[in-house]
């Protein structure tokens, strides 16, 4: 690895980063450097699929994302979040940027079957992942049961948090079916599977999604209805 002096001020920091960029450019041009697997050597070099080793010296890295069943290839800087990749690169603006700090849940998407805060996820780390956003919840133009229930129960006012609430609730029902526990689960030792959850469980399991309009009672009602119907069908 290269060595450098510790940066002590903002100016120093800028300089160091500029030097680093120049250094990287030199390395790329001469082909020198470390052999830690595949190199991304120039602008928009491919990262190679999934878990293959990579060292991304390039300012942009080419990654693949399957979003709502559609394959995309895009070039992103390593510092681009999954949220910004979806919104700014793929123009899928259904996923909302609320706090951008992992506190509000507006950016919740489902990555490889798990709900995550896309604002804290770096897109480059999701190369090859399957992402479901609010735009992918409907089936052949038909809203999902949760989307219908959110309308039926008036589970929003301004709607800004709704895409995250819907992705979160969709994953919540799948987690409950798989037997996941929460802080509201009384008995941790015995597995219990099913989407018919008491309100205290729904509230706890939706705690990562904030609604400034305060539509919580109706969000809980919508999820309770869908969960109950799914459990009895």
């Amino acid at each position: 690895m290269k060595s450098k002096q510790p940066a002590t001020s903002a100016d120093d920091r800028t300089r160091v980063n500029l030097e680093r960029r120049l250094f990287m450019g030199t390395v790329a041009a001469t082909g020198a450097g470390m052999s830690l697997g595949a190199f991304a050597q120039d602008a928009e070099a491919p990262v190679h699929a999934g878990s293959a080793p990579v060292r991304a010296r390039a300012r942009r890295v080419r990654i693949r994302l399957d979003v709502n069943g559609v394959a995309h290839e895009l070039g992103v800087e390593p510092r681009v979040t999954l949220l910004d990749a979806l919104r700014e690169h793929l123009k899928l603006t259904g996923t909302k940027k609320g706090c951008d700090r992992g506190q509000c849940g507006a950016c919740t998407v489902i990555a490889d079957g798990r709900r995550i805060n896309s604002c804290l996820a770096l897109a480059v780390m999701y190369d090859g992942a399957r992402i479901t956003t609010v735009e992918g919840l409907a089936r052949e133009g038909e809203p999902s049961p949760l989307q219908r229930a959110f309308v039926e129960y008036d589970a929003f006012q301004c709607g800004f948090c709704t895409p995250g609430q819907l992705c979160s609730a969709t994953a919540l029902l799948a987690e409950a079916q798989a037997g996941a526990i929460s802080a509201a689960t009384a008995d941790l030792k015995h597995e219990r599977h099913g989407t018919h959850l008491p309100d205290i469980e729904i509230r706890e399991r939706m705690s990562g999604n904030i609604c400034r309009c305060g539509a919580y009672p109706n969000i809980v009602a919508a999820i309770r209805d869908v969960g109950t119907k799914a459990a009895s069908s």
Binding site: S51, P78, G102, A180
Partner: protein
Amino acid sequence: MMEFEYLRPASIHAALSAAGSHARYIGGGTNLVDLMKSGIEQPELLIDINHLQLAAIEELPNGGLRIGAGARNSDTANHRLVRERYPLLAQSLVAGASPQLRNLATVGGNLMQRTRCDYFADTRFPHCNKRKPGSGCGALEGDHHLHAILGGSKHCIAVNPSDMSVALLALGANVNVRNRNGERPVPMSAFHRLPGEHPERDTHLEPGDLIVSVDLPSPVFAKNYHYLKVRERASYAFALVSVAVGIEQDGDRIRSAAIALGGVAHKPWLAADAAAMLADKPVRDIDFAAVAAAAVNGAKPLPQNSYKVPMARNAVQRALRNALEVA
């Protein structure tokens, strides 16, 4: 966010070779990416450890359990063996953060998460010895209602925010740490540090050290346990005070016990003296108030956080009663 280089190494060896003070390992990123956005962390190199087969949870020959550093908080909490044999750990994990954050956050990252002290997290505050050594502590003279009552120094009164670490401390876990020279087990009680003269250091790890797994001893406290978290709202908030209690019983006698506290110090706080007061005692003879008082012995509260002393005492009492299932 500052620019950085991204490395997805092919092996642990490659990860260790690239590591150093200029680099950070990234697991889930729930804390690190946040700190990078605000410029508090500015790594030149980000080493993605998510493809190094570090996420397994497996039984050890001695009857214990090894949890890979890359295991997600959600997967760890939901794992059958964790729920059956170490329910205290499962309880502490689901007390933390939100479901979507627990899906990202790893066990190794949870151990490394940094304080949520506002003077540290908000770079508009000029004084923070943890963020800018030598700049002073904004909390001492400022808003410190969330800060430490135990183990603080004149340089820092921040608290460690982890729930999981409190349970791991009570359970007597070891953290397995690897660097270029080999691997070493670090007891939880020697993993985090007090601020002292160097609040910029949260743990005893050195640059380049990689947490590879956490070992739990053969099952303890599987029957009598409780993780109690007191916070400013019902869910999705950091602890004002938390307590992990585990008790091994022999009939109606207590054989051994562990008490650890969160939200009170720069590290998860082991109340060993208080726990020793329980050992070899019949449950009916326990003086819960005396044990609880011992748990916060030596507390030095500040004007705005003196409430934490009685809160911690009450929390210890309640956690003990819940663990023992007595009124």
